[in-house]
């Protein structure tokens, strides 16, 4: 009908001519499976990689377990603190906003330390020297340690410092905040975690 018709048929006949003398190659299936396999592997790796990258800080569920080597030489495991409310604060001595909350955290710690509340400070990519100096500067007395090999930060998927997680008595993450806090905010968060524990014995 149209010119196009003719060209389409040309294509078909051409293809037929080329295709004719070709027996099915042995091993062709192998190649198809190989290529398919490679594609699937690539897709899985990059799909999972992207999902992993896009994960954000956990805000509920069990808090990832870790053992913190404190600067005073103890090892504190999160698991051993079951039954207590745990405030996990990620900080660094090079971080400006952390400085504004350091004294507030210490004050909150002084207020709650005898009420079944534990504070853990975790210094992100910091050095012992600078971390010690920072703790001295702000008179911080609750246990602090460096996050060696950035393992704990990776578990909690932090995106910066300061970030604070409140863990309830059962070891669940109760709250998460990524702004510098004042004493009032910290107290409110701790109270919420404490009362939650009482309501569901």
């Amino acid at each position: 009908m149209t010119h196009l018709h003719a060209t389409e048929q040309d294509v078909l006949t051409e293809a037929a001519v080329v295709a004719e003398p070709t027996p099915a190659k042995h091993g062709a299936n192998f190649i198809v499976f190989l290529v398919g396999g490679i594609l699937v592997v690539l897709a899985v790796i990059f799909g999972l990689g992207l999902r992993h990258q896009q994960q954000t800080q956990p805000t509920e569920g069990f808090a990832p377990l870790f053992t913190l080597q404190t600067l005073s030489g103890e090892a504190i495991s999160l698991e051993s603190l079951r039954g207590q409310v745990v405030v996990i604060n990620f900080w660094a001595s090079w971080c400006g906003p952390c400085r504004s909350e350091a004294a507030e955290l210490e004050a909150a710690w002084q207020r709650y330390k005898d009420q079944g509340v534990v504070f853990l400070g975790i210094a992100y990519t910091d050095t012992e020297r600078n971390a010690q100096a920072y703790l001295q500067e702000f008179g911080i007395t609750y246990p602090n340690g460096l996050d060696y090999q950035t393992k704990i930060s990776a578990q909690y998927r932090i995106t910066g410092v300061p970030e604070t997680f409140i863990i309830d008595r059962e070891g669940h993450i109760n709250e998460f905040v990524m702004v510098p806090l004042n004493q009032g905010q910290i107290s409110a968060m701790i109270e919420r975690a404490l009362t939650k524990g009482q309501n569901q014995p």
């Binding site: 149209t2 294509v11 594609l39 790796i45």
Partner: protein, 696 residues
């Protein structure tokens, strides 16, 4: 008004692209020319629609419509007009729209130039380009909309929406202007006007050869038609990408202040990966055109190139890898991932299907191990190995290690300089030998003889380099290998011209121009080889013999490095520029052989309004053919600035990289320049009968 206009134009372009894709496919299946014409017209319409859309965003940027969230994010009242324009591609949403705009322009171009010559392939070409365009426009419309405006709702909350909401009022203009961000300081550089557009042209441009390859697979017209039709398109994309890469390096050198130009960062590598496969493709298609071999392989390289383009886009725009260059994380990660996977799976699947049907059989077999075609195959293997090594280092190993071994690792320059140099060296050796070998078979003896003069020329160049910069024997040998790849190109051109000069009696100028005109593609290619050799020598020299030192100087004190002396003269603190940045400038004098040769002003810029990174260390450099004297202001004594710390680099031969890339552009232009009868649409002359394919 502008926001609505831009959004509606984008939406219409989206509909037109979907319509064109569907109608072109349906039309070719039904063999209905009217449907095909309608599809073509819809595809053509995307370009003017995208022009309107981009124009609206551009006007909004220039006229400071801060109610539009994108404008508010990338400009502020202090931004100079130049950077208002470049802000069009200064962040994710705008650059995605710009990307789609370029794609619609390429679609327009290929339809205008190839419609008549490639009637069989064009419907499928339109389908593939328009599907891709529709995908990217979809991202712009539904996930990264640059036309969204801020509105204040009756309950005082702020929402983003393109269209006016009932009861909502726009925020006060003064408040918006005051709080606006301004362009990311990294992007405030002259390179911003050319580097991203070139890079995007390079990326997007590969869609044309890709769509033609897919069209060939879909239509069953598996002759070399698709290659011939797209040769210049491929070259255009390739040269844009090459230049984009080099300009990116220049930008890093000028702005990032680390004394280098290529950091092997995943994002840089993401742009280099398609270049590797594209370059391999440009070489191996010659074998198919001349000898009818490697049909499957060429198809595969083109599909791989485009897959790498989409992968690079996905990797840089999704936050898959962390990098200084990458865009902020956003919701387009998974859509881009699925698009990449579908493009790759569908194209490879179709290739395998045609191959299993036996429709991609080669016309000839290899018959000599030492022939031009086998050297080309070797070249392709090396390119693919480079691709694997760089892909693994940038995306494979870090992700695999984090996912399956639970350890974060960095593969930096360290890794790449352990793995890639042998491969680059192999490429340069092949560049030296392959142009001298013959199609079919060649003998070692002949090859050896042909190499004598180029080798002598290369030795002379090495001697010159050794005089400028003493180097170890091994390095000199490597210089020699790289130089040889350039001198072979020069010598082959000379021999061709000499032959004409002697046998045809032409004078030299005529002989050279006639020779080049006789085969622009070959001699353009030789020029490109020469330019790559120049870039290679520059890259090697600046990498191996870079010297650096860091010293704190009091005013009047000097430091010495590599034959230069630099004196700290004084300090200009707190200079405020037109665009609101605060500059702290050190004044230094560079002295060589007792003569003052330059006054330099390395500085630190501070951008008070910028979010995130707000200081930039701007180097100053004194360039000569031999090397660059490159100074960074690292630090200074507060207030008095009576002493300041400088980091000084000497980068030998680095200018060869910039000069070489200019030659590369020239060489590509020579290679692309249309033959008289064969315009961009190669097949117009060959198939005149198909011009009038349409019945009214």
């Amino acid at each position: 008004m502008l926001a609505e206009l831009g959004f509606i134009a984008t939406f219409l372009a989206f509909l037109a692209a979907l319509y064109a894709a569907g109608m072109a496919f349906y039309g070719v299946r039904r063999r209905d020319d009217r449907l095909l014409l309608s599809a073509r017209n819809a595809a053509l319409a995307t370009f003017p629609l995208m022009s309107v859309s981009l124009g609206a965003l551009l006007i909004a940027l220039v006229t400071q419509q801060y109610q539009i969230a994108y404008v508010w994010n990338v400009t502020d009242p202090n931004t100079p007009t130049f950077f208002r324009i470049t802000a069009l591609w200064g962040a994710q949403a705008g650059s995605l729209l710009f990307w789609s705009g370029i794609m619609s322009a390429f679609a327009f171009g290929t339809i205008a130039l190839n419609w008549h010559g490639q009637r069989r392939l064009m419907p499928y070409v339109i389908t593939y380009i328009m599907l891709t365009l529709a995908f990217f426009l979809g991202l712009s419309l539904f996930l990264e909309n640059p036309f969204e405006r801020y509105w204040i709702m009756p309950d005082n909350s702020v929402v983003k929406s393109v269209f006016a909401l009932s009861g909502a009022v726009p925020p006060a203009a003064a408040r918006l202007a005051e709080t606006s961000h301004g362009l990311n300081p990294l992007l405030r550089h002259f390179g911003m006007i050319v580097h991203p557009p070139l890079l995007y042209m390079g990326f997007v441009g590969f869609i044309i050869p890709f769509a033609f390859a897919m069209a060939a697979l879909a239509s069953g017209d598996l002759s070399t038609g698709w290659i011939k039709a797209t040769r210049r398109w491929t070259l255009l994309a390739w040269v844009s990408l090459s230049l984009g890469l080099v300009l990116g390096g220049r930008w890093a050198y000028d702005v990032l202040g680390w004394g280098g130009w290529w950091g092997w960062d995943p994002v840089e590598n993401a742009a280099f990966l398609p270049w590797l496969l594209g370059t391999a493709f440009l070489h191996s298609v010659m074998i198919q055109e001349k000898r009818g071999m490697l049909k499957v392989w060429n198809m595969f390289l083109m599909l791989g190139t485009f897959s790498a383009v989409i992968f690079g886009t996905f990797a840089t725009r999704s936050g898959l890898v962390d990098s200084v260059h990458s865009f902020a994380r956003s919701g387009i990660g998974f859509p881009l991932f699925f698009f990449w996977f579908s493009v790759t799976a569908v194209s490879v699947g179709m290739l395998l299907w045609r191959w299993r049907r036996g429709e991609l059989r080669d016309d000839r077999r290899f018959n000599g191990l030492l022939s031009r075609e086998s050297l080309f195959v070797l070249n392709n293997i090396v390119f693919v190995m480079l691709f694997i090594a760089i892909f693994w280092g940038s995306f494979g190993a870090p992700i695999v290690s984090e996912l399956f071994l639970g350890t974060n690792i960095t593969l930096g320059k360290d890794y790449f300089l352990q793995v890639t140099p042998p491969l680059f060296l192999a490429l340069f050796i092949l560049m030296g030998v392959a142009p001298l070998s013959a199609w079919g078979v060649t003998s070692l003896l002949r090859l050896g003889k042909a190499l004598i003069v180029p080798a002598l020329l290369a030795a002379a160049m090495v001697a010159l380099l050794a005089l400028m910069q003493p180097a170890e024997p091994l390095v000199l040998l490597i210089y020699g290998v790289i130089a040889l790849s350039g001198t072979v190109a020069l010598w082959e051109t000379y021999r061709g011209a000499a032959a004409r000069h002697k046998t045809l009696g032409e004078n030299w100028a005529t002989a050279v121009t006639a020779l080049v005109a006789r085969n622009r593609r070959r001699y353009g290619g030789y020029l490109i080889h020469l330019s790559i050799a120049i870039v290679g020598i520059g890259a090697l020299g600046s990498e191996l013999y870079q010297q650096e030192t860091q010293r704190t100087l009091a005013v009047g004190q000097s430091l010495a490095l590599g034959g230069y002396t630099m004196r700290y003269d004084g300090f200009l603190g707190g200079q405020i520029a037109d665009d609101g940045r605060v500059m702290d400038i050190a004044q230094v004098t560079v002295i060589r052989d007792g003569r003052e040769i330059a006054h330099l002003r390395p500085r630190r810029d501070f951008y008070p309004n910028a979010e995130g990174m707000n200081t930039m260390t701007i180097p100053a450099a004194h360039s000569t053919a031999e090397n660059d004297f490159y100074v960074l202001l690292v630090d200074w004594e507060a207030i008095s600035a009576s002493s300041a710390t400088f980091k000084v680099f000497i980068n030998p031969l680095i200018n060869l990289i910039w000069w070489g890339s200019l030659l590369l552009v020239f060489g590509t232009l020579v290679g692309m320049y249309p033959d008289e009868k064969h315009a961009l649409a190669t097949a117009v002359a060959a198939q005149p009968s198909r011009l009038a394919g349409v019945k009214a």
